[in-house]
Symmetry: C2
Subunit: 279 residues, 2 copies
């Protein structure tokens, strides 16, 4: 497993890889969710590249860029037994050298939900992912369904900009009590960790209603909000019942719907989601 920092070294090492090449873009502080992406890539690719980069341009000025957990040594220890070929760990200066000024944006799908409360977030995401796609030239790129809007935005970007690769989306991995795995879970105190299970309970309560034939999206949003409000330490930022591709809020669920939410537990912002009507 080669660990590489500069773009020139990356390009040279990429030349030597047998295709198809699978890319798993990460911000590090890896957990079982990331590892599940690597294992999925192994089923479909001859070579695996993991990028680890806490991308400053997707954090807002008041967000947790400085505090975001980092532990490269631990990350490399987790990746070593997984048969990864290359790990790219560019510095911010490698990604955004002086004079940097190119941006990739996806308009409509980036606007609601995370885009509404994190202005500029998706511009940072699409820009860095476009850079990763161009630098690494994978045939397949793996993303977790945990970041549901990110998945929709990147699928749209790949399609619209003709990126010659397949975007593969893998299911959310959850702790035994239902909490979605996230690098940010490390921020939670023991009490908050307990309270954080409210997100998944809120989602599954709405799913139960859907399975009992509820198709009114605003009723499902009310159900989710009601469950969240039952937890005193939870401050919901949004709850949504939207089209999984466009992220537009639904009135009535005809086919599929994406239930999603952002909730503060103490000072920690958590997101989670669930797709209804998936075949």
């Amino acid at each position: 497993m080669k660990v590489i920092i500069t773009l020139d070294e990356l390009r040279a090492a990429r030349q030597m890889l047998e295709g198809p090449v699978g890319l798993i873009p990460t911000m590090g502080f890896l957990h079982a969710g990331h590892i599940s992406l690597v294992r999925r890539a192994h089923q479909e690719c001859a070579s695996i590249v993991v990028s680890i980069f806490v991308n400053p341009t997707q954090f807002g000025p008041k967000e947790d860029l400085a505090a975001y957990p980092r532990d490269l040594k631990r990350d490399l220890a987790l990746l070593t037994p997984e048969g990864v070929d290359l790990v790219w760990t560019p510095t911010p200066e490698v990604m955004y050298p002086p004079g940097y000024q190119a941006w990739v944006t996806v308009a409509e799908v980036s606007q609601p939900l995370e885009g509404g409360v994190r202005p500029g977030h998706f511009r940072g995401v699409t820009t860095v992912v476009a850079k990763l796609f161009n630098a690494i030239q994978p045939q397949k790129a793996y993303f977790g369904q945990k970041d549901a809007q990110q998945v929709a935005v990147i699928r749209r970007m790949a399609l619209d900009l003709n990126f010659p690769l397949e975007v593969v989306v893998c299911p959310i991995l959850r702790e035994p009590d239902g909490l979605a795995m996230s690098s940010r879970n490390v921020y939670l105190s023991a009490e908050e960790r307990q309270a954080a299970t409210i997100l998944y309970r809120s989602l599954t309560t709405a799913r139960n209603a859907f399975e009992q034939s509820e198709r009114d999206a605003s009723r499902l949003r009310s159900i989710m909000m009601g469950v969240l409000n039952s937890e005193p330490s939870a401050r919901p930022q949004y709850v949504s019942c939207a089209d999984p591709n466009t992220l537009q809020e639904l009135e009535i669920i005809v086919d599929q719907a994406l239930l999603s939410m952002a909730v503060y537990i103490g000072k920690t912002r958590l997101i989670d989601n669930l797709i209804l009507g998936e075949k």
Copy 2:
């Protein structure tokens, strides 16, 4: 020479090409300048792809999109003897299908000059060129120095977004009287065609001053404007003496400078430029 419309056919045909692949992106209505790019590509590439697409997103609402000259039959006749492997002639619907929403922008370099008088122009250019790069995956892409700011913007985009290719810039081809070759020259009446030589005379007058040691950029701008004003049918939109990479106006020329201008001759908007101090 295969002529291809859809993206799927393009991808299939691209697979069969021997590398390195050279791309010449054009808006068609080809002239000797375009052909010079093809011939340069032949010196360096095993396979040649020419794209022909009058890109609607780089035209402003009051610009000449509908009037822009098109003659695919003639273009193909010109390319046939040049040993081109693929010609991609996508329709607007192939490039921008319903729901299209991804954009590539280059911030600072796109702002002055053409960007100042053609708002949104470079967003259209960088977006379509990014799409061409991803769809065709060339090792080298050829552009004419005629569009000097486009060259600076695309170089910046390729660098910043890690496109795995080399941007090759080829010199302006001129008519015997100095007029830069352009598809838009067809708009000119016989009288305007004569008047249009004022652009190159303006540039060379300033170059003469530079060669006689003039280094004051505002003096060179005045010289160019003076020559343009001597032609009654010329309406200058801007004249510039700027850094060739950043396009920022200079005060004093230390090393290189890009002289450039946009001038209306009747209703036809022409641009031209010349680099001072080139090694």
